[in-house]
Symmetry: C2
Subunit: 202 residues, 2 copies
DNA sequence: GTCTATAAGATGATAGAC
DNA sequence: GTCTATCATCTTATAGAC
């Protein structure tokens, strides 16, 4: 995957392909994603896609990188002063209380891609890395809270993993069931879990 | 879908088709599941499948019912005397600490099917129902524990939803990442969550 | 109930012109 | 870089024999 400028991960043509893939994915879902459909969204021929990527799999792996980048950008947060706020911020980014259309779509695409991680090792590694990064971010915030005396002296890893599993489960339920109310309730419940586990005045 | 006997949901022929579908799913994954592959596993022709089911979708919806049945049977538990044990039992059934091959396979198939719930409404309704049933089961155990004075006077729905989200998230992570250790840790952490939230001597 | 044969179309991928 | 045309293969599904 050649780049036009060393600073940019994606050149113009490839970015357009990634965006067309994103649209095709939203319109048809992962199961019905084909080179033809991506080409249609791109308004170019299929052969044009094969000029940029060797195979469908090649394109898809590139797209996964693109999507994970987007997702990570979405959750990256300036480390504020208050660990309480930072934790709430990360959770809100990953699992918005009331997701707007764009957030809903991105999450839907991520869940669709993720289902491929079951059988595709390249996908699996990306999601392993993504989950690990989220846990580490959460861990660091908790550790800082402990150091600052804001949080109780708990095991940051244990709490971070628990938070992450709950977030993933809720995101998953949102994408695959009609239990939106339950999802919102779990989101609130997660805050109260943090309250009772971490805050000193619990 | 006609039945041989009114008590049985599946007759012999259909059960064999469901089992062949299950094997095909394990061997190739949902993305590569075709009528041909199911027929191969069944050791019959494709036309034989179309005698029993009108379309691929028809067969798949039937299979989902079959798989959900299996899964529900797996988690159904005789209501024992101790709510603590019952809760632990349900969690262990849904999220075994160290899953054997059969449990791992069933969970993998469920996650594969579930990814279809994103775009298929019939699938979505089944998983909505399944999740709801699990929450209700958990709720009832918690309520009984409260009534018996074994658990603190918490909101059973809130705790049940939280447990379910955490279980789903961990199951999901197990199927789509290489973070098996994290999954095992979360499973343990879930028990300690229950401890601190529910048990009176917490 | 199950078979073979086949239809009708979509899919991933390539060749060769421009 | 992008196009049209094409290929081999696979897909779901059906017709008709047994």
């Amino acid at each position: 995957m050649a780049t036009d400028s060393p600073d940019e991960k994606w050149n113009t043509a490839e970015t357009e392909i990634m965006q067309a893939t994103y649209r095709a994915l939203l319109a048809h879902g992962y199961a019905d994603l084909s080179i033809s459909r991506i080409a249609d969204e791109l308004d170019k021929s299929k052969a044009a896609l094969y000029y940029h990527y060797d195979s469908k799999d090649d394109l898809l792996v590139a797209f996964l990188g693109f999507a994970v980048d987007r997702f990570e950008t979405t959750i990256s947060t300036e480390t504020g002063a208050d660990p309480n706020d930072d934790l709430e911020h990360v959770i809100e980014k990953l699992l918005p209380l009331r997701p707007d259309e764009e957030q809903r779509q991105l999450q839907e695409v991520m869940v669709g891609l993720r289902s491929q991680a079951m059988t595709n090792e390249a996908f699996r590694e990306q999601f392993t890395r993504l989950d690990e990064q989220i846990v580490i971010t959460t861990e660091e915030i908790i550790q800082r809270g402990i150091d600052d005396g804001v949080f109780r002296d708990v095991d940051p890893t244990r709490i971070a993993e628990h938070i992450q599993a709950t977030i993933n489960g809720t995101m998953y339920a949102r994408a695959t069931t009609n239990r939106e109310n339950a999802a919102a309730a779990t989101r609130v419940s997660l805050s109260s879990y943090i309250d009772s586990e971490l805050r000193r005045n619990a």
